[in-house]
Every structure is written in C-alpha cells, then in structure tokens.
Amino acid sequence: MKLRKQEIVKALLEILPRDAVLFEAEDLHPYECDGLSAYRRLPMLVALPNTVEQVQQILRFCYQNDVAVVARGAGTGLSGGALPHEEGVLLSLAKFNNILEVDAEERVARVQPGVRNLAISQAVDSLGLYYAPDPSSQIACTIGGNVAENSGGVHCLKYGLTVHNIQQLKIVTIEGELLTIGNSGLDSAGYDLLALMTGSEGMLGVITEVTVKLLPKPERAQVVLAAFDDVVHAGSAVGNIIAAGIIPAGLEMMDKLAIQAAEDFVHAGYPTDAEAILLCELDGTNKEVSEQILLVRGILQDSGATEIRTAKDEAERMTFWKGRKAAFPAVGRISPDYYCMDGTIPRKRLPEVLKTIADLSKEYDLAVANVFHAGDGNLHPLILYDANKPGELKRTEEFGGKILELCVAVGGTITGEHGVGMEKINQMCVQFESAELTQFHAVKNAFDKKGLLNPGKAVPTLHRCAEFGAMHIHRGELPFPELERF
C-alpha cells in the first residue's frame, strides 16, 4: 500500500536531521527542473543526506515501501533526467562534495559524487594533472551526474568520454546494498558493470563515490582557427584532418548564426562574414604540436579555408575558445529561449544533415544556430524560440524530434552526450526495436525489479512506443523516406 506524504516525511526524519528533509512547497520549487527547464514537476519531498549510511537507509525505506527515487547532482542535465517524480523522493547528492583522496603517482582521484567536474582538475592542477572530460557545464555539473550521463565535452575524440576516464564506483542499490564496481587496476573480475553503470541515467543504482583517472597536462596545446565560405568545405576539412592520421585534442565547428552570436557576446575576434569556422586544437609535446600544426594548416588550406589563424599565445588560444564555450549563452542573448539538441551522425553525412536542418528550420519557421563537436560528429543544433508565444514550444519540440529522427536515419544516434532522460524518450522508439527495448527493461529489472529508480526515464515502455508510432508513421511511411538507410 502506498504511503501518504506525511508518513514518508516522518520516516525520513528518523534517518535525516530536520534541515535535510524538504517538504514545504516553497522549498521544493528549486528542484522542479534540471537544465531542461521546459519540463517541470514538483517532487513529493527532497532528501539531502550526507553519509552513505543515510543513503542506504533512505533507499531501503523506499524499497520496502514502494516509493520512487530520483537522484540528482547539480541539476545541470539537459534531457530532464533529474526531473522529479511527483510521488517520489528527490535524492540530492549535493552534500557529497569532498575530494577524498588523490594519488598523484597512480594518477587517480577518489571523489564524492557531488564534487564539481572542474573542481577535480583545479585540485590536481599543482600536480601537473587534470581530469579530461570537460562538458560545457563543467563549472557547475558534478561528477556523479557525469557518470550517470556518460558526459563528454570538447576533448572526447582524443581523450574519450566519462566511461573511459573512471576506474571505480561505489553505488547503493535500491535495496540499500553498497557495491564496489571496478577496482584499483585497469580491469576487474566479472562483467563490465562499470560500463553498464556509466550513462545509465540513475536507473540502476545511486552513485556514492567515483574514482577518476587523471592525465598529465600536455606540454603544449595550441589552437588553429579556420574560416570557410561554405559549411560543406568545413565539413570535408574535418574528414581530411582525420584522414591525414591526426587526432586533434578538440575539433569544433560553428555556423554563421552561432559565430555572430558568440562574437557579439564575447568578442573572440571571429570572422563574422564566414559561413562556418573550425577550431582545431592540437596538444602533446612541443615538437609534436609544431609538426601537427604545419600539417593541419596545409590541410585546411587545401580544403578551401578562406582564412587560417594560429593562436599566437595562450591568451589568444583562450580567446578563440571563449567564443565556442560561450556559444550557448550567446545564443541565449539573441533569442528569448533556445532548445539544445544533441544528436550524433557519421561525419560524412554532415552536409546533407545540415541542409535538411536548414529546410526544417524554414518549414517550422524557427531559426537554428549550429554548434558541433565536429571531430566526433556530435551536433548541437540550438533552436531559437519564444516560450511566451503560444504553441512555439510545442513546434520547437516537434522540430527537435525531427532532427533526432534524422540523425538515426543517417546511421547516427538521438543522443551523443546529454542522455535520453524525459526529453528523448519518444525518439528511443525510433532508434530501437521492441526486442531491444525489452532487453533494456530486463537489464533494469536485474538491478531494480520494482522499477523505483528514476521511473519513466531513459527507456520507454512498448506501450508508449506504440502510441508514438501511431502518431508518427503516416500511411506506413517512415520519416525521411528519401534518405538511404543503414
């Protein structure tokens, strides 16, 4: 039998101090959404434990009483993964914000899940080390959330995603059991549960500790900026750099609208008449970087760049990056609202995908600024809209859904690094067959047979897909019939 709110509050107050349980409406509002503010819902209550034992007790209680639990870090996620459950406990890990141990020789740091991504690199900076994955939200986002979403960033092509940069996790299961996954070596006995947990969006367990791998800071990093009068040329330049055997530390692309917005905002010195720019960062030893910069400049030239600039010093390198890193807020300045998409495609399909996005932009009468992690084919189209105009959010979501379906149609995926959460739950029905979704549910069931952890997220029910399919398959036709399928 379901417990009433009062009874749950009473039970949690036996586990936590008075100020660590929030249940009055005014206290709940800060938790009503994550970084995807278009989705809002108040939790029944918020629990703010600060010991692993408390987390275990809370989960044990929720398991015994069939209460849903949604774990939350900094709430910067962009897919509604931390959207609260109205009859559930929102479990904030914000108080777990300590770096527990740094082993410089082994190049690992053991941290609590609420430690901010950037705080790790800052803490080990004096040792000449850093933590590689750098999502744009790294000032605010926490490592626990990074693991839950398998976060990326601009340096993924060379240094990998979160899954490549962690070594051990401690998690608490919904039954309250503390498990250690992974170990101090480079692999561990049994199944690769570390990979399974990474990117599992809080569906399988609650992360209470993360051991991250650290890298030595490269001797030198330098960035080259290239302008193009055609996005297709910029796209082929990306392929040409890779074909030459170079793996840049970062390879980013911005289109005209994004360039102009960024330039107006932070004055990075971008050429505002360009149709696209590429930022190509090379790092390594001094000699290696010198050799590769020469090569890359030649390739950019041959690929039709209209202008090529190498940052002359660290200050200029930071300026070049500042524009890219500020691209999202910059777009935020030119539009009342924007909606950030996150599909990945095979790089060679970039020109046709950009063209279709431009066509859709006309069809829906909504502008799009494109920012990409071009090196790994991860697109972030930003749809500009005004939430105060009736129907515009709905049109934006529909447009966004079309972009994601387009990504699947060209052999890509609906999410490169932001996760499925609530936002892309319908598009999961496009990317996966029923048997595959059923297999995902079986995996979930192996960890959480009552389905209490983050219910309704990440993996749609078959019933939901049937309804979504009924809406979207028009006369038995798939979307984008003109595109070749893989």
Binding site: G160, V163, L179, Y191, H373, E436, Q439
Partner: protein, 354 residues
C-alpha cells in the same frame, strides 16, 4: 576477403537450443580455448560468419562480422595506415574479432591507449532467447540506452552471441622506437611512474628483474625528443619484441606451471609471492608463474585493489576467475538471467552458474 552472413542460421540454432534447454558452446577460431572454464554443450560455430560490413577510414570505425579473422582485419587497417588501438593479442592465426572482443584481451598499448572495451562502439548480438539485437552504433558518442555493447566485452559469450562489432580505430603512428634500461624491478617501477606524470608519447612498458623496455610512438620529431627524455639503449628489433610479448611467445611464457594474470594498481609494490614475474602496463598488469595456492595469490593481489586470473595451465580444481563478493555475484546472476534466461550460452564459462 570472405563475405558470408550466417546470422539467420545462428539465430535459429540459438532459438532451438532455448526451446530444448540445451547448452551451446560458442566457438570462433579456437585460438583461446586455454582461457576460462570448460563448457559442456553443442558447438555453435560462428567462425564462418565473416566479412567487413562497413569501413570508412575517415570515420575511424570498422564494423565486421564476429567470425572475421583478426589477422585479415589488421591487414585491411594497416593498408589504410590505421590499427586497433588496443593492440589485441591473437594467440593463434585463427583468432576472430568476436573472440577478441568476448575475451576483452588487450596488448602492450592498453595502459596508454585503452582496452578492447574502450574501443567498442556498437554490436549486434543474439541473446539467449534467439533474438537478434543491435546496441550502440558506429558513431563516437552515443548514450542512447544502456551500454550493452561494452557489457559484452569480457563476458565471454555468456550474455549473448556476438554477430557484429563496430570498433573505433586509430591512425598508425608515424614512427616507433624501443629503448632498454638495465634496471631492477623496484627502479623500473619508479622510473615508469616518473615518466607517466610527464606528457610523453610512451605506448608500452615492460620490465623484469634485469631490464626495462619502453616503446615511444608518434611523429618523427616527437619520438626523437621523447627518446632523449627517456634515455636508454635503442633496441633495433623492437617490433618483433613487442609482438612476441603480446602473443606470449617470449621465453618467459614457456612453462608447464600455471600462468597467472594479475591486474592491480600500477604502483603496487613488488608482491609477496613466490615465482617468476613479468610486468607490463607500468605495473598494472603482472604475469606470475607460480605454484602457490590460488588463495594466497588472490589474497595478496586483493591487498592492492586487484584481481587474479589463472590464465594458462590452470589446474582443474582452481577457480579461473577471481571470486565475486556476494552482492556483485547476485547482480551477475540477475544479468545472466536477463540476457540468457535458459542459461544456454556458454554456461559456466566464467563462473560456475554464469
């Protein structure tokens, strides 16, 4: 290169085995039969399921059927100046891509570039109910759904029959040099860790009581510069040296005694175990030839947060893989049930009931 798709036959065989509750022993090139626990069951031969499905060098990804010989794939990559970043050991001419991924074994480059699992982007599998399922994809970043493809790495076929695998590939290095220092183990451990916190293009290390071998890979100028920083005598036969080490053809591995693979924190000190020992991956992988009891070896390795696999010549009564604690074992059993409810896929290959 052969191009044969037998996926529907394989799927049918699994369906039938599921219906009749009879165990299957998944078989590729049979190059790693020495590894893991013995499995009883009818052979499910994947070795004929061959061919490259998609390979675009500029996309840095290759997708091939699981029975494709590793040797052929490496040749194709090499023709395009690319390689598997994890330097897979083959342990025989007949090794297949599927077996390589199912065993998740990686070579000398592992500590510097990543493991087999790190490079897997997607897979098609047959689960224990005979369903053909596709997970992940061919793109570098993909967080839609649970990472089932990486879960398959090292699961030794106990969760699914690998049909196709997409693997990220890397450009080959312009040049490689191997240098040797005459050092004992303690000094070698110290030296590799001193080097590891500098940003140097080192791609392999190996040491024993007598010598430390270091491989440096990168552009010509970068290798030359790093060589100065690392020091030591150049070994002209470097390529052959690392290949023999990876394939366990060097003298160290010529033994009838059990060969243990120890995986632990790289800066763990010299362990208190009897026997000969060879170090790789900056000390994170150690090969131990010893007749000591499994219990004492595992107790020692556990002190340093590691695990021990009885890799070759494993006596019948010894548990091959490091025992799991009860919480993890329960999750393993439940995952096995989730993918293979009839327990027909390589049952007992890793642990007695998995």
């Amino acid at each position: 290169m052969t191009d044969t798709d037998i996926s529907s036959d394989l799927q049918q065989q699994v369906e039938q085995a599921y219906a009749s509750k009879s165990a299957l022993r998944i078989q590729g090139g049979e190059s790693k039969q020495f590894y893991g626990r013995r499995v009883a069951g009818e052979a499910l031969d994947v070795s004929q399921h061959q061919g490259i499905i998609n390979y675009e060098p500029t996309e840095l990804v290759i997708t091939a059927r699981a029975g494709t010989p590793l040797k052929e794939l490496e040749q194709v990559l090499s023709d395009n100046n690319q390689m598997f970043g994890f330097e897979p050991p083959a342990f025989g001419e007949s090794a297949t891509l599927g077996g390589t991924i199912a065993c998740n074994l990686s070579g000398p480059r592992r500590a510097f570039a990543g493991s087999a699992r790190d490079f897997v982007l997607g897979s098609r599998i047959i689960n224990g109910k005979g369903e053909s399922l596709h997970f992940g994809g061919e793109v570098m970043k993909n967080v839609a759904g649970y990472d089932v493809s990486r879960l398959m790495c090292g699961a030794m076929g106990t969760l699914g029959v690998l049909l196709e695998v997409s693997v990220k590939v890397l450009p080959r290095h312009e040049t490689e040099v191997t240098v040797v220092h005459e050092l004992g183990v303690a000094d070698s451990l110290k030296k590799v860790h001193d080097l590891a916190i500098r940003s140097l293009p080192i791609s392999a290390t190996r040491f024993d009581d007598n010598a430390l071998h270091i491989r440096i890979s990168g552009t010509e100028g970068a290798v030359l510069a790093a060589q100065k920083a690392v020091g030591g005598e150049v070994l002209e036969t470097g390529n052959d040296f690392w290949r023999r080490l990876k394939e366990q053809q060097s003298g160290f591995f010529k033994t009838e005694s059990p060969v243990w693979r120890l995986s632990l924190a790289s800066n763990s000190p010299v362990l208190n175990t009897d026997g000969r020992i060879l170090y790789e991956w900056n000390g994170a992988q150690r090969w131990l030839i010893s007749r000591e009891s499994a219990g004492s070896i595992r107790d020692e390795v556990s002190l340093y947060g590691g695990h021990a696999v009885c890799f070759r010549n494993c006596p019948e009564q010894v548990q091959v893989f490091h025992p799991l604690d009860s919480g993890l074992l329960k999750i393993h059993q439940q995952l096995k049930q989730a993918f293979d409810p009839g327990s027909i896929l390589n049952p007992g290959q890793m642990y007695a009931d998995i």
